[in-house]
Symmetry: C2
Subunit: 582 residues, 2 copies
């Protein structure tokens, strides 16, 4: 046995016991006649003391050779600490060392293993195994485990069965590119890695599994943006004999359970909002509702005056920034520059200061009088002391720009509090979205999503207006889950593929197995998938997911530490029954 | 809401309630004026009754159109059943139907959805979603879920953290071939799919995670044998600051917990046996100890007589078959034919009948007298009434042959009871095994396994005798888990790679990241991995794993139902930055 206790265990009641500990040398203070060492493991830190008068000389000498991150084992007596440290759970005691064994030496680590390390991102990634020793990272990994096990136990208690679906599957592109895996046993053929277990979970519903879930890795061979991993983890769920309402209730229950269990946050019920409402009020289908600053549409009160910029715009829309009336000209110019950045893309910004005395001062005083501006204040909910920011132009672009500004201002104003949680259901998503590039409609969610009852007929006349039985769960401005009621009828599914531009042959070749299954008694069914990486990060009060992943990949899809992917040898290539020329 | 209750829920106390049910038509008996329907879902079966006198005519007419596996929704009143069925939990009641909706029609299924189906293996695989509706398959999938969640909760309570390791990794072949994944973003480079998370879990130990586990998919691109899947699931565990004893105790605890929780079988503690002992006593490193029939070595008592077959053999070894003295000549000839089959490969078999009167009758009476044979009986533990079967030849081949015979006889004698569980630790495995093909020693477990203390020196002189800190957990003659204490010292690991025939450059290129990590304070560590597929099957009382997998692959590695792998289109190939000629 390497230890009788871990380094977070010893308390005053252990005084006088002889114990054995093992761990890493966090730090060591050598006063010559006395050495204090902080011994660390996953569970905590215990102070060791080597004392010339009480510790054998050989042990004392050996102790002097230890550096940071040496792995050691010590045996000794627990004694009362002279200067207690109330901040440490083990702060009442220390270990007077009698025996010491150095289990492994350590080179000086390339950065300090401290909560506030001196290591930069790249270095910490390269030595991820050292980074994981640091409390902030270690605790995030433990937090992720807690979330996962809470999810599993909750769903299990609700009658869900975790079923493993295959990883080596047939390529059925769902929007992103598939990673492919050449099959040595089937010449010239490839498996794909699943972008999600979508079709398999639907088959499980046809198979009567009734309530399915799985915490499962999914894969997308996409160009990587920051904070998006080519492999990611999904909480994948599906239920039979359900309507949208049943699904929202079950997964609202799960999310409330997680908020309560893992972050101690209680909430009665989640608000709901249609997609159209979310777009009109927040310019965004995943609004952060931890704070207000709702959009006020100004077309009715700002158009038909002499200001041509607004008159020619499809949408004039503003938000009220709390306390913004006190912004200096320089601060406002900075905001204007911000919205004009190419990433945001506005051509300019009109503003109105709502003075404390009830008067208004705007950048367009030439065109609008006090009475006009009062109407703007009303529409945006601006109070005396606020600043109204107004953008205009084509509807969807303007909404996106103002939404970006709203989020930026909220961040600046400290309104996006990491210990506050504002979940929201966004429902009634459009079934289709127009794709400029291919000049046709695509499934907004995926081709298995069912239109709302009675809307199938609109497909031919007003496709853009067809609403789907699709919903997203939004938390603090992030989509953490999304799902839909699926099509369970072969004819409707076939018609949907047809509408999405699949030929009969393509649809049959790619999804024939599913449509065939629908002929043997498919129940109505629907589901939802949570992105575990993001869910965990947001519950943990952060927006970046990388820290919650033990071995993340960088933006080029590479394991920095292990240097993967890599070239493979020619013999291995040849065996794949493929002629591959690099 | 599609239903107020599921089909396993209704009891006598629900009589007179109006309820709504949904599910599949299991079967329907139409007597004209009355129709009985068994309505099925995951939870059970409820009998529906449509009665001309009490059910609306339109509903009655619609009911007559329903076939097997139609998906329906019914509303009606729960009534007392005239002829109760005590075998069904819902057998006291039936539902008098007032409303009926056919939610989906069904073609006649290609095989009957009954516990004892008329569908053959191939057909059931092709329509796996129908097979899953059958109780025996459905229950196995639910059983698997129960095992998984019991594992997770037990390990979690013991302080283990489930950490997800990556699936797109660097190729580090561990014996089997890797599946590879071309990386579009890194020209000419490939990821590999993990054969196990071995190196990652060791890095987690270097990272101070202390106790890690993961239920994780692993991949081996091997020629498939029956009942071996190219993707399989592993319960992967690792612990720091442990010796072999600690690991055996923890995972004995886990296995006892599973036996108790999921199959209701209690056992005090698991016996232990060295590899050498297992080979000598059972000719097998994963002996089934649900029954005796231990090997008796006969060299001392059977050699140096006039029987040249034995005299020239390296090993003469026998087993006692309980009650085998009564076998007819024909039955014994059948056994001899069995051991001579090419799959077993013995040249012949000597037998001794131990008569009830204490006398012996053998096939080698010419060479051995009663006193000689009495010694054979003593060595094999044969009792009057038993049959001693004796094989001879080269040690390892003869052991394997007698082991095969032992298993075959035990199966014939009904000694391998599926509701009995006999776990066993096999310890002290050899570090290396000789490979005839490459004419060199290979790591028996993997190159990260540490030799037993003080045995490193033997490597150069008697490599075959070096014992490793490696152990297997055997259950009912199947290896369900295996592991080892790992090397945690860079120098020793480097020497091991050297010994295994890696050049310095190869070792550094493939495993440099791990050896580098060892330099920064690697703790002593070790672990174990269970094969979940096999564990679940054996706990479930079966030897075949396929039924416990929702979507298994066939022996050619193909998803029969979904027809994967498949050809991918040329454009997709081109994007992979590889020139691949099919």
């Amino acid at each position: 046995m390497y230890r009788t206790h871990n380094n977070g265990a010893l308390r005053a009641e252990n005084i006088n016991e002889t114990v054995t500990l093992a761990g890493w040398v966090q730090k060591s203070r050598d006063k010559g006649f006395m050495i204090w060492v902080d011994l660390r493991d996953r569970y905590g830190i215990t102070q060791l003391i080597f004392d010339e008068e009480r510790t054998p000389k050989a042990v004392m000498d050996l102790a002097k050779t230890m550096g940071r991150e040496f792995v050691i084992q010590v045996t000794g007596k627990v004694i009362e600490r002279e200067s207690k440290n109330p901040k440490m759970p083990t702060g009442d005691v220390e270990l007077l060392v009698e025996k010491l064994e150095i289990l492994n030496e350590a080179k000086t680590p390339p950065f300090t293993i401290e909560d506030a390390t001196d290591g930069g991102e790249d270095l910490r990634m390269k030595y991820r195994y050292l980074d994981i020793r640091r409390n902030p990272v270690k605790e995030k990994l433990i937090f992720r485990h807690k979330v996962s096990i809470a999810v599993r136990n909750y769903l299990s208690e609700q009658g869900f069965i975790e079923v493993e679906t295959p990883y080596l599957i047939k390529s059925t592109p769902e929007g992103a590119r598939d990673f492919v895996v050449p099959s040595r046993m089937n010449e010239g053929q490839f498996y794909a890695l699943p972008q999600s277990p979508q079709t398999f979970k639907q088959l499980l519903m046809v198979g009567g599994m009734d309530k399915y879930f799985q915490i499962v890795k999914c894969f997308r061979d996409e160009d990587l943006r920051a904070d998006r991993q080519p492999e990611f983890t999904q909480i994948d769920c599906e239920m039979a004999f359900v309507e949208q309402e049943d699904i929202l209730n079950i997964f609202e229950g799960l999310t409330k359970h997680l908020l309560k269990e893992v972050v101690g946050f209680e909430i009665e019920s989640f608000p709901r909002m249609t997609y159209d409402e979310a777009m009109a009020k927040y310019g965004n289908d995943k609004p952060d509702i931890r704070f207000g600053m709702e959009f006020g549409e100004l077309n009715a009160v700002a158009q038909h005056k002499d200001f041509n910029v607004f008159n020619s715009a499809e949408l004039v829309v503003g938000i009220a920034v709390p306390g913004g009336a006190s912004y200096t000209r320089k601060e406002i110019d900075k905001l204007i520059d911000w919205v004009k950045r190419p990433q945001v893309g506005a051509l300019g910004m009109v503003y109105v200061k709502c003075n404390e005395d009830g008067s208004f001062k705007s950048s367009v005083d030439k065109f609008y009088d006090q009475e006009d501006l009062a109407k703007w204040a009303e529409a945006t909910g601006a109070q005396p002391g606020d600043l109204i920011c107004v953008l205009s132009g084509e509807t969807s672009k303007t909404r996106a720009q103002l939404s970006a500004l709203r989020m930026e201002l909220a961040t600046q104003l400290g309104l996006r509090k990491s210990d506050e949680f504002a979940p929201l259901w966004v429902v009634d998503f459009p079934l289709l979205e127009w794709d400029e590039e291919t000049e046709r409609y695509h499934a907004m969610h995926h081709p298995f999503t069912s239109p709302k009852p009675g809307q199938m007929e609109l497909l031919d006349t007003k496709p853009g207006e067809v609403k789907a039985n699709a919903y997203d769960l939004v938390l603090n401005g992030n989509e953490i889950g999304g799902g839909s009621i699926r099509i369970h009828d072969k004819e409707i599914q076939s018609k949907m593929f047809d509408y999405l531009g699949f030929t009969k042959e393509e649809a049959q070749a790619q999804f024939g197995f599913l449509m065939d299954a629908f002929q043997y008694g498919a129940p109505p069914h629907g589901g939802l998938a949570f992105g575990l990486d993001r869910l965990v990060a947001i519950l943990g009060g952060q927006e970046t997911i990388r820290d919650f992943i033990a071995f993340p990949k960088n933006n080029a899809g590479r394991d920095v530490m292990i240097d993967a992917p890599a070239k493979i040898d020619a013999a291995q290539l040849e065996e794949l029954n493929l002629k591959i020329t690099l």
